[in-house]
């Protein structure tokens, strides 16, 4: 290790967005041939730091050195010239082109007549694949490959472009176990050739398996850097979580009457291979948390319950009676509401006003014989804006002009107006400022106090601990643990369970 030099050195990097400091004098270094884990909670600054390295954002202050020389990276092109390659979570491959064509996209080999030289492209691609020890048909269309092979193609593309530093962001999120093995083999091979890898992941087992060192960020600051051989998972988790808002965590869970008929019961739900034989019960007034890593199947489970995706097996009961839900309309009729993960794409019509968005989810209750009742609409919208404290309180303002937190309040408001019995929430606080986060958590508690039941997905464990009465830990599409809130000591404890670390 001593002969290794720093390939990347980021020194005292600071970055603010709209006056909010997201990176505060963060230093980060990667030596040649190293796999360096970058860890931290959502919003800790990992992706901002990496985006600065890729030229997506420009740093406010600090310095970047590549191979010992000061580097100025202002665009993606710059980053590529410095040998920095990114393996995107959403792949940047053209599905209808072959593997070889994708690998040399934008750097096509040309023959004497300036036409594409397909043979040379294929020959060079084969060489790259051989070097990586991969057995992929380079003439196959990318769209015919599985996700893992697409990802490996993406890596091959970066390597063919002479990347010396590869950034991988949650690369295993959608991969099966054998695929992960194949990926890791390739990564090891790359490091043997002196390529350095920045590995962003929430999965502790993978970090220990593949990485040499770890840098931990929290709230935009570097908290620790250590060889993985010298740090325990418990220490890592303690660094990642830090000391949390005590008030948020003081929640102990209500005692829920569980001898009655559950309001909702899932029996053996199956969705492809993503959700595997999941059964659970939900009681009136209960807030049930779904904890798990990205790609563990939580979203797929609630989507299937809401009728957005087809169930491949299993059944559901409401108030003890069997019901069939094939689409969102039937789910809504049964008293469900669904606050989706991506409010811009799934929750709201961004160009429509607050009023129009609230109206769209409540058409039947706000109309008579299919004619809209405008006095009812105006009353409801005014009430929603007041009760949910939407700022600014303007019914006719287009929602795209609101802040993320206020957009989310509109989503919640429109669903609460439907007077649901069961509220499904998928990451309700993503992209929301901390103040609104707390407000939304209070709203969730208030919803349950009214006797409604909530199923809450969140990757932010403090949130789950702050509101839930019971938590199901989902791992690989199955319920791995069921925990009463009062049996979870603190965030670290829950994190260990989510990661599957034995205590």
């Amino acid at each position: 290790m001593s002969s290794n030099f720093n390939v990347v050195e980021m020194i005292d990097i600071s970055k603010s967005f709209f006056g909010v400091k997201v990176l505060d004098r963060v230093s980060f270094e990667v030596t040649s041939g190293e796999i360096h884990a970058l860890a931290g909670e959502n919003g800790a600054g990992k992706s901002t730091l990496m985006k600065i390295l890729q030229g997506v954002y420009t740093l406010d202050s600090g310095e970047i050195q590549i191979a010992g020389a000061a580097a100025s990276i202002h665009s993606f092109q710059d980053a590529r010239n410095y040998g920095i390659g990114m393996v995107f979570q959403e792949f940047s491959l053209v599905p209808e082109l072959s593997v070889a064509q994708n690998i040399f996209l934008d750097r096509e080999h040309k023959n004497k007549l300036r036409f594409f030289d397909e043979k040379e492209t294929i020959r060079k691609s084969k060489l790259v694949m051989e070097e990586l020890g991969l057995n992929i048909d380079v003439t196959a269309k990318v769209s015919t490959l599985g996700r893992a092979f697409q990802q490996l193609t993406e890596i091959a593309k970066a390597i063919a472009g002479d990347a010396k530093i590869l950034i991988l962001d949650e690369p295993t999120a959608s991969l099966a176990k054998e695929e992960v093995d194949a990926l890791f083999k390739v990564l090891k091979q790359l490091t043997a050739r002196g390529v350095s890898i920045v590995y962003i992941s929430h999965r502790m087992d993978e970090i220990y398996r593949i990485c040499d060192r770890i840098t931990i960020l929290r709230d935009g600051k570097k908290i620790a850097v250590s060889l993985l051989s010298e740090i325990s998972p418990q220490e890592i988790i303690a660094h990642i979580t830090g000391r949390k808002d005590v008030e948020m965590l003081s929640h102990e869970g209500k005692s829920i009457e569980r001898s009655t008929t559950p309001i909702f019961e899932a029996i053996g739900i199956q969705v492809g291979n993503r959700v595997n034989n999941v059964s659970f019960k939900l009681y009136p007034g209960e807030i049930l948390g779904l904890a798990g890593l990205m790609g563990s199947g939580r979203t797929e489970l609630v989507r299937a319950i809401f009728g957005l995706d087809k169930k491949d097996g299993g059944s559901v009961k409401i108030d003890g009676k069997d019901v069939v839900i094939k689409n969102p309309r039937e789910a809504i009729a049964q008293g469900f509401a669904f606050i989706p993960e991506d409010r811009r794409r799934q929750g709201l019509v961004m160009e429509h006003s607050v009023k129009q968005n609230i109206l769209a989810a409540n058409l039947s209750s706000l109309s008579h014989l299919n004619f809209l009742s405008f006095s009812k609409i105006n009353n409801l919208v005014q009430d929603s804006i007041t009760n949910f404290e939407v700022r600014p309180p303007e019914a006719n303002r287009e929602v795209r002009l609101l802040s993320g937190g206020n957009q989310q309040k509109v989503v919640i408001a429109k669903w609460m107006a439907t007077n649901p019995k069961i509220v499904l929430m998928d990451e309700p606080t993503v992209g929301v400022d901390i103040g609104t986060k707390v407000e939304i958590m209070k709203l969730v508690r208030a919803i349950a106090t009214e006797g409604k039941s909530v199923i809450l997905i969140s990757s932010e464990l403090p949130e789950l601990l702050g509101v839930c009465d019971r938590i199901l830990v989902i791992r690989k599409g199955q319920i791995a643990e069921e925990l009463d809130r009062k049996d979870v000591r603190d965030e670290d404890h829950l994190q260990m369970i989510v990661q599957g670390i034995k205590i």
Binding site: P328, R329, L348, H352, A360, A361, L363, F371
Partner: protein
């Protein structure tokens, strides 16, 4: 800053009225001696615009739902032909129902292919356009079918209520029904939500396939009514009636302030958009421009309309 952006939105929303007023004034000044302002000419504009207005109202729903219908010209032609044939061979009621049936059949096919099979509407309706025109030419062997039934010609063409032209009543009725449907009913909200963000609409429990099917159906049925209006006004059914009207209707809708990208619709704007198209056609004819030059000007107006409607 806020003031400025508010102003911008305002101008875009009322653009059609300013354009209408400006071009009207321009023609009034330039074409005064050609009789532009004579009441007969002004009524003529309304009469000739009726078919476009009616079709454009249907098109407003289609575009609001983020789809397009290029088959309306062909549907109008086919409906005029089938209406005329049924009228000649079977009688008045059969003629009217025959024409409308064309709208139902083509609209259902369009709707099925767009909403349920999932083929992009511009492809489906582009193909359907050819099918409809070809079919109309085939059954008439390219000949016009004269309509000798005075009742039919009065209802769908030259009839008046007092001094009030019947064709104008058709326009007003279409606009009024369209306006009520789009702004006052749950269906209108479903159309706008589907066009604005189909995913979000589905999450809201809106059956977006059903919405897309219905807008395609409405558009075709309305186009078949326009076909009957052609037949009544020109007292013939002919496969060429309506040719190219899809572009005029789309221009009217976009000029009227409906977003080409779906999610917002303005029926009153569409009405003035259609009148503006009619106004321009009329002015160009009075100015003595040949058909070729009229086509150039009309084409440029469509491009201009889309450019102005483009956001930000």
């Amino acid at each position: 800053m806020t003031l400025l952006s508010l102003k911008k939105i305002d101008i875009r929303a009322t653009l059609i009225y300013w354009m209408f007023a400006a071009i009207f004034l321009l023609f009034a000044l330039l074409l005064h001696d050609d009789g532009f302002l004579q009441s007969n000419n002004l009524l003529n504009i309304f009469r000739q615009t009726a078919t476009i207005t009616v079709m454009a109202v249907g098109m407003t729903f289609v575009i609001s739902a983020a789809e397009i219908d290029l088959s309306i010209g062909g549907v109008a032609g086919l409906a005029s032909v089938v209406g005329a044939l049924m009228l000649r061979d079977h009688g008045l009621i059969q003629g009217i129902l025959g024409g409308l049936a064309i709208g139902f059949v083509v609209g259902s096919l369009n709707g099925l292919l767009v909403a349920h099979v999932g083929i992009p509407s511009f492809l489906v309706t582009l193909g359907m356009q050819g099918v409809a025109i070809g079919f109309a030419a085939l059954v008439t062997n390219y000949y016009p079918i004269p309509i000798l039934n005075d009742t039919f010609n009065a209802i769908f063409g030259s009839g008046t209520i007092g001094w009030f032209p019947g064709l104008l009543l058709w326009s007003f009725t279409a606009v009024l029904i369209g306006w009520i449907m789009l702004t006052k009913t749950t269906f209108g909200r479903r159309v706008l939500a589907t066009g604005g963000n189909r995913d979000a609409a589905e999450f809201n429990g809106i059956n977006t396939k059903n919405v897309k099917f219905k807008v395609m159906l409405i558009s075709s049925v309305v186009a078949s009514i326009a076909g009957l209006l052609y037949a009544g006004r020109l007292q013939t059914g002919r496969y060429e009636w309506g040719a190219g009207d899809e572009l005029s209707a789309i221009a009217a809708v976009i000029l009227g302030g409906t977003s080409l990208f779906g999610g917002s619709g303005r029926i009153i704007g569409t009405f003035f958009g259609a009148l503006l198209v009619g106004l321009i056609n009329n002015g160009l004819i009075l100015a003595g421009l040949p058909v070729s030059q009229q086509q150039i000007v009309r084409g440029l107006i469509i491009i201009l309309a889309v450019a102005l409607a483009k956001k930000k």
